[in-house]
Structure formats: C-alpha cells, structure tokens
C-alpha cells in the first residue's frame, strides 16, 4: 500500500532548468589562493574569532568559536596562514560588509588531528549532538539554523516522523540531487545517525518525482532499512519545511510554532551528509556542494567547494562569461538575491550560484498597479492573502499586515511569479517584516531606555535625599553648638549681674516684658562696662581718641541707668498688676519705650579694640533710635490709653541725638585711626625692605663663595667667579649697614 500524499495549497510550476547542471558528476573545486570565511554563516549569534593574524592554521581547525546557544563554530577549510581578520563583502542582500577571517592557503591541504567517532550508538546522545555542534553544522538548505539545536530535543518530546528534505523544488538547483546520485550511502548514514538521535516512529525521505536517478539511488541505499522514500509530485515550493511536512504527514505546523511541536523533525540532505562526515570521519563542515549554473557559465555543474572560496574563483573555474551575464544570483532564482561583488565568499548555506544571461533572466519590467485578479491568493502555499498583505505593506499598515499573518509568509515568491502586474510582492513583504522587526527593536530599546532613565532618576533622588539628610545633621550639630555657646554666655552675664541688684525670684515670676527689660538693662550695663574697659586700655596706651571714648562711656552709663530705672518701674507695675488679668498686663508693656531695644543685640563679647566699641555703640544707638521712632509711629497710628505719646516722642528725640553723636564720634575715631596706621606703616616699611635686601645679598654672597670653593684655583672661570663673589659680598655688607642706620633712625 502506497503512502498517502497530502497536497499543499497553491504552488507553481516554473521551468525547472535542472538538466544543465546535471551533465557531469560532482566536480572538485580548486583551492583558491585566498579564503574569506565570514564568522556569520548561520542564523544566530556570529562566532568569536579565536585565531590571530599571522597564525598558521590547519585544515579543520576551529578559527571562530560558537558565541552563545544559537551559534556554531567555524573551521579553517584548508591549511594556511591567517592574513587578516577584517570586514569584507559577504553574502547579505544589504551589501553591508561582515567580519571575515582571511586565510592565505599554502596548498598543502594538511589536516588537523581529527578522528571519527566509532560506534556512535554506544555513546551518550548529548555527546553526539555536541559533536555535531562542534563540527559547525548548520541547516544547509538555505536558512542555516544550527542543526544540533534542532536535534537536541527535550527528552519528553516524542518525535513521530523524521523527514529528510530532498525535494529541492527550486529551479536550476541540483546540489542535493547530485549528492544523492553519487553519495546516497553517506547521506543515508547521516540520516541513520539522526534517526538514532531522535528515535522517530518512522523516517521518511521526501523527494520530487523529477529526480528519477536520485530516487533510484535512495531506494537502493535504504533497501534494508526502515527508511521510506516518499516521492511527491513536482511543484514549487514543496521543499519548504512546513510544506514538506504537510505533504508527507498531513500535519500543519502552527503559526509561530516549530515542527517538533507536532512531533516532526525535518533536515536537509546536505545536512545529513555533513553529519555523516562529522561523526564517521571526524571532519567538520568545511565544504559543500554548490550548483554553478546559468547560461553565462560554460562548465555548468555541481562543485564541491571549500567554504570561503570567493565567487569569482569558482566562476573562473566554471569558465563564466562575465560579459554575457546580467547579474549574479546567490541561491535559487526564486528565493535567492543578487550579489554585486564577485569577491563574496561561498558559505554554508550557498546551494546555488546562478549567472544567467540577459536573455535568460532579463531586466524586470516596470511595476504596474494591482488589478486585484487574485492569482497570488491561488498560488500562495501558506494559504495567505498576498494581495491584502501587499496593500497593507504598501500603506505601511503594519498592524493589519500582522493580523493577516504576514509572519507566516515563507517568501517563496510564487505570488510574484504569477503576478500579471509585475509587482515585486516578496520585496513588499520583506519590507514590512523588516519594519515590524525594526519597530520591535525600537520598543525594546525604548523599554531599556525607560528603565535606565527611571533608575537614574531614582539614584539622583536618593543622592539628593542623602545630601539633604547630611546637611540637616550638620545644621543641627551647628545649632546645638550655638545653643551651648549662648547658654554659656547667658550664664556668664547672669553671674556678672546677680551680685548687683535683682533677685532670682522676681525673674522667674515676672512676665516677659519685665524679663526683656531686665535683659536690656543687663546688656546696656555690659556695654557701658565694656566701653569703660576700652577707655582704660586706651588711656594706658595713650591713644588719640580718648575724648570720644570718654564721651561714649558717659552716654552708655546714662543709657544703662535709664534701662535700670525703666526695669524697676516695670517691676513695680508688674507687682501692682499681679492680680489683674494677663491681657491688661500685656497692655501695659507697650508703655515702656525702651522695650524695642531688646531684640537688637545679643551680648557682644568684650573687646579691647576701641574702634570696635565705638562702631558697636554707634550701631546700637542707631537701632535704638529707629526702634523708638517706630514705636512713636505705632503709638500715633493707634492711640491708646496706656500709651504716653509724649514720653515716647521724647525718648525718640533723645535716641536720635545719641545716635548722631555716636556716629560722629565713630567717624572721627576712624579717620584718626587711619592716619595713625599710615604713619606707622611709613615708619616700618623702609626697615622691612632693607632687611629683605640684606638677607638676599647675604645669600647671594654665600652661594658665590660656595661655587668658588668647589672650583680649583686653576679653573678657567675662577677669576671671573672670584670677582662676582667679591661684588656680592660688598653688596651684602652695604645692605646690612643701611639696615642698621635705618633701625637706629
């Protein structure tokens, strides 16, 4: 009973053009003088170069290690010297250079030590999978997904079918076909390794019916095994992974899912061959079969070519007519892309190199408007609506395109192939896919930026908070210190006064006004005492402004007396009002005209500088006057019974007089002091200058003497030095004499 073949939707039948490259067997490509090996030949993270410029490498030696999980190592395809690790043109439609390791081949083709894994079935499966990974094997059908990851299924995943994709549905390409025809046994050996690795219920080989020789070879190679060769009708793109799975098993891989989700693993023919070489021979992936075809090629065929061989070298060997070719296509005519530089190397996924003539593949015609014929929908193998996707891509409506499952488009090109309007549909889809990818990257970056920004904000806030706390702590400490100082001063003042008049009892019982008055009196007394002290000092020193000081002392004494009388009065009043309510006692306070003096001055530390005392006194008097003035104004504005305006006015006038007097005294004193200072300076300066001169000349003379001593008498410059020394010596003596004279004067 023959196996049921499901039929994929859509699909096309382009001219196959496969015979041209099947005229001869596999041709060994020449070893070029220079190999250019990109570190990125697979999907995933690029490898990490592990050789340096100038290193000699052997065939099969690792030159770039795997860098992450989705990554594979890269090996030297032949022996030679690493001449450069730099950016070179590589196989990428963007034409952006990629990092390559350049090897100058030595022609010896000398292998590195390598050994086959004998009897792989006795090994751990993970060991074999790692060996496949270390051999640098990535899907050779075109996508380049690391094969070891595909095979490294989780233990709980049950694989029902293992598929070998030999459909090779794209026109022109015959790489797998020729490989099977010549080396079917080796392909099957590779497949058997995979079979052992994933333990599928059945193993199938999918192959299109346009390859009768390959089918025969496979049937012969699998005759005594449980591997079944399933021939499918020729239709593009039956070789697509999801398409082949459906064709052979009827299973559909969900959108965004993996084949292993439905219990299927699908591997390419070339990959199976490479796995065989890796396990049974210990050879890493360093070469592949590439179809070189197109009408511009004389020797069309399949070449076994070292990875990293420049396209130009391969084309020369195939005797390409560069003048006839319109362009170079890497990959097949449906899914490949044009390359613009023949220096681009052959890589792991390069299954075909197409050099068509202008007649064979002409310049594309101009795009025309979509006529909504719906042909594209009929051929789409993924069951999408290409026309709708086209409109959305054209108008940049990415979200709608996503809703119409743009991500499931396999970019096979069937829609473009049938489009009567020449619309490059695949490019529209690729554009949209790129935009979506870009947007996702931007969103990711924005999220990252937001996180960083918020973290920074939090950090700055924290720093500010800490600073603020430190500042507060400092301020508190300072305030405490200040308070302690104040307390000490207050104690001192209190001690100095307690002997003279007031008992502590009244102080505690008296209301605030009286207390204030008391402190006013105390400070006035203190200032008077300070002034007196200053006067005494001045008298002792015979200072000029004794008169002014004397006057000041008198004034301060009067003020202190005044304050005392006021305080006594207030105390009396306080005692009288002791019974009355607190409001009345509050009312009485404004009577005392001297009261506003209180806030003006904390007790100044005693000073011996008469100038300072004068200044202080002047400022105090001025403040007193101003305060008194304000009081008068207040009293005038709000006349009240308890306030005697006349008294206030009188006090104000007195304060004004006092202030003016003290100001004049201070000004006079300042002028005199200035004069005195200048005179003193005039006397001091010349002596100082002379002293300095003397010291300098003395040092010079000493230096000259030292220099003289260090030289012998017969030295040439001895005479000159001696003269110099004598000169310096005389200068020093003169300076000293001058200084003495000045000091005596």
């Amino acid at each position: 009973m023959s196996r049921r073949i499901w039929d994929i939707p859509g699909g096309i039948h382009p001219a196959e053009n496969k015979q041209q490259s099947l005229q001869s067997g596999i041709i060994a490509a020449n070893i070029p003088t220079e190999l250019i090996i990109p570190i990125q030949q697979h999907i995933g993270a690029p490898g990490k170069p592990c050789v340096e410029v100038g290193d000699n490498v052997l065939k099969g030696q690792v030159i770039a290690g795997a860098n992450g999980f989705v990554s594979v190592p890269t090996h030297a395809p032949t022996s030679g010297e690493v001449t450069a690790i730099e950016s070179r043109p590589v196989q990428h439609p963007s034409q952006i250079d990629g990092l390559c390791i350049v090897i100058k081949t030595d022609g010896d083709d000398q292998w590195v030590n390598h050994s086959a894994i004998n009897d792989y079935q006795s090994q751990e499966r993970s060991y074999i999978i790692d060996a496949i990974r270390q051999a640098g094997i990535a899907g050779m059908g075109g996508a380049g997904f690391p094969s070891a990851i595909k095979l490294g299924i989780r233990p709980d995943t049950k694989i029902e079918q293992l598929l070998l994709n030999s459909a090779e549905c794209e026109p022109y390409i015959t790489a797998d076909d020729s490989l099977i025809q010549e080396r079917a046994d080796e392909v099957i050996a590779g497949l058997k390794i995979m079979q052992w690795l994933v333990q599928p219920q059945e193993t199938l080989i999918g192959i299109e019916d346009n390859k009768p020789n390959a089918i025969a070879a496979l049937k012969q190679a699998t005759a005594d095994s449980n591997i079944e060769v399933v021939v499918v009708p020729t239709k593009y793109p039956s070789g697509g992974e999801k398409q082949l799975i459906y064709l052979l098993t009827g299973k559909e891989v969900a959108s965004g899912g993996l084949p292993s989700d439905v219990g299927v693993i699908c591997q390419n023919t070339g990959t199976a061959y490479a796995i065989n070489r890796a396990i049974h021979y210990g050879e890493p992936l360093i070469s592949r079969i590439t179809t070189v075809t197109g009408d511009a090629i004389t020797n069309k065929g399949n070449y076994e070519v070292l990875l990293g061989t420049p396209v130009s070298t391969l084309l020369s060997q195939a005797d390409a007519k560069f003048d006839k070719t319109s362009r170079l296509i890497m990959g097949g005519p449906m899914m490949g892309f044009s390359i613009h530089n023949a220096a681009v190397p052959i890589v792991k996924v390069t299954n075909c190199l197409l050099a068509p003539t202008k007649k064979e593949i002409p310049e594309p015609d101009a795009e025309q408007a979509c006529i909504r014929c719906g042909s594209c929908t009929q051929v789409c193998p993924a069951g999408l609506l290409p026309q709708q996707l086209y409109w959305f891509s054209k108008s940049n409506e990415l979200e709608k395109a996503q809703h119409f499952n743009l991500a499931d488009c396999i970019e096979c090109g069937a829609c473009s192939f049938v489009c009567p309007s020449n619309i490059p549909l695949v490019q529209y889809y690729r554009f949209s896919k790129g935009q979506i990818r870009k947007q996702e990257a931007e969103t990711k970056k924005a999220d990252q930026a937001r996180e960083r920004f918020e973290f920074r904000q939090a950090r700055l806030e924290k720093e500010d908070r800490e600073k603020e706390e430190k500042r507060k702590a400092r301020a508190e400490a300072a305030a405490k210190k200040q308070a302690a100082k104040k307390a000490a001063t207050a104690e001192n003042t209190a001690a100095s006064e307690s002997g003279s008049t007031v008992s502590a009892g009244t102080e505690s019982t008296g209301n605030t006004a009286t207390t204030k008055l008391k402190s006013t009196w105390a400070s006035a007394t203190k200032r008077w005492k300070d002034a007196e002290k200053a006067l005494k000092v001045a008298e002792k020193n015979g200072n000029d402004h004794i008169d002014a000081l004397q006057k000041k002392v008198g004034q301060l004494k009067a003020k202190a007396d005044n304050a005392k009388s006021l305080y006594d009065e207030a105390k009396l009043a306080n005692a009288e009002n002791a019974d009355s309510s607190s409001s009345t006692s509050n009312l009485t306070t404004p009577i005392t005209p001297e009261q506003p003096i209180t806030p003006q001055q904390p007790a100044t530390p005693p000073t011996n500088d008469p100038m300072q005392v004068l200044k202080q006194a002047s400022a105090d008097d001025f403040n007193t006057w101003k305060a008194a003035q304000q009081k008068v104004q207040e009293a005038e504005a709000t006349p009240s019974d308890g306030v005697d305006i006349e008294l206030l006015r009188k006090v104000e006038a007195e304060a004004k007089e006092k202030s003016v007097a003290s100001k004049t005294a201070m000004k006079e004193a300042r002028a005199k002091e200035k004069e005195a200072m200048q005179a003193k300076k005039a006397v001091e300066d010349p002596t100082k200058q002379l002293k300095l001169d003397a010291a300098i000349t003395r040092t010079k003379a000493k230096k000259a003497l030292k220099a003289l001593e260090s030289l012998g008498e017969d030295h040439a410059s001895y005479g000159a030095l001696k003269t110099a020394y004598e000169k310096a010596h005389t200068a020093a003596e003169n300076a000293e004499l001058a200084l003495k004279a000045a000091e005596e004067a």
Binding site: R327, F337, I361, Q427, K433, R452
Partner: protein, 196 residues
C-alpha cells in the same frame, strides 16, 4: 404591603452588599499610576530629550493624559507616534509640531571625539540615560547601545567635541526598502519575476 417591604429590604441589602464590595475593591485594587499615562508612555520613544517641552517622556505622557498638551510634540517619535497616540486616545491626527530641520529620520547616536575631550564630566551629568562613561580629567565615551541620540550632551560640552551622528547600520539592523511602486522597475534584488 409585606411584599413591598421585602422588595425594599432585599434591594437595600443588595445595594449595601455590592456597595461595600465595590468600595473594598476600589481600595484593594487601586492603581497607583495613571493607566492612560502609562499607555502613552509606552508609545513614546523614551529618548528623554525634552524637545516636547517636558522634562522627559513620562511627564509629557502625563500632560497628554491630562489633556494639558497636544499629541504632536514628540519630535523623535515622529508621525508614527502621533498616529499611535491618536488611535489610543481617540483623537484626530495632527501634524508634528516642529520645523522640518528639527526632524531626523534616521536613528542617531552621540559620538565623543575622544582626543578633544578634556574630561569635564559635564556631558555625563547631562545624559538622561547614564550612557556616557568617564571620570574627571579622563576622556569620556558614549555607550552606543544605550544612547538614544537625545543630544542633551552636546550643549553642555565646553569644547564642542560631541557630534550627533547617524547610527551605523549593520546586517542586523538593515531592512529591505519599500519598492518604488507602479511605473518603476523593481530592480534586480529579487529575481523571481524574471524567470518564466
């Protein structure tokens, strides 16, 4: 009469029950942030450049959420962001509020000409992303992956050694261009149309 009473009683008791339930839920499941501002913030490019007149993307999102500012102030976001915000808020699209010269299409990053850098750390303090690395009197450099190209570091530089340059395109960031549309040949990039 008793039916009336029972109806009233049941309705009142239900009202009390659901009222307390809702009240409890309002306290228990209260969101601290404004969810609309959050959504708008998610649409913004997070360059924190301040070109909208707000000190960062989040404040602008909050201003838009509270109807205090228009949706067309985000220059780095461009028209795409305005469209997205218009969709989210159910507003009409309005063109970007910026001079043509201010709008940069390609992504940019800051670049410090390191031999000219005097190590003043001014740009480090200005960078909202902490994307500049360096210390006092040591040359500074930009961490390209973190730089959003907001150009806030350019102005404080006393020696003008910071350039805003287009981000270097790599194979990973490269994307296919949109075909030119009807009337123009699609070019040779993809051959598929030409085989018969």
């Amino acid at each position: 009469m008793s039916e009336d009473l029972s109806a009233i009683f049941s309705l009142v008791s239900m009202a009390i029950l659901f009222g307390s339930l809702l009240g409890y839920a309002a306290i228990k499941f209260a969101t601290e942030d404004d969810p609309v501002a959050e959504q708008i913030d998610a649409l913004l490019p997070q360059t924190q450049c301040g070109q909208c007149g707000h000190p960062g993307c989040r404040p602008y999102a909050e201003a838009v959420a509270n109807d205090e500012d228009e949706i067309n102030k985000c220059i780095p976001g461009g028209e795409d962001t305005i469209h997205a915000m218009a969709d989210l808020l159910g507003k009409e699209f309005i063109p970007l509020d910026a001079d043509e010269s201010d709008v940069i299409d390609t992504p940019v990053v800051a670049y410090i000409r390191e031999d000219e850098c005097i190590g003043c750390t001014k740009c480090i303090q200005a960078c909202p992303m902490d994307a500049i690395l360096g210390a006092a009197k040591q040359m500074h450099t930009v961490i390209v992956d973190e730089c959003t190209g907001c150009d806030l570091c350019v102005e404080p530089c006393p020696v003008d050694c910071i350039d805003i340059i287009p981000e270097k395109q790599t194979q990973q960031t490269w994307v296919w261009t949109q075909p030119n549309g009807p009337g123009v040949s699609p070019g040779e990039m993809i051959p598929v149309r030409n085989i018969a």
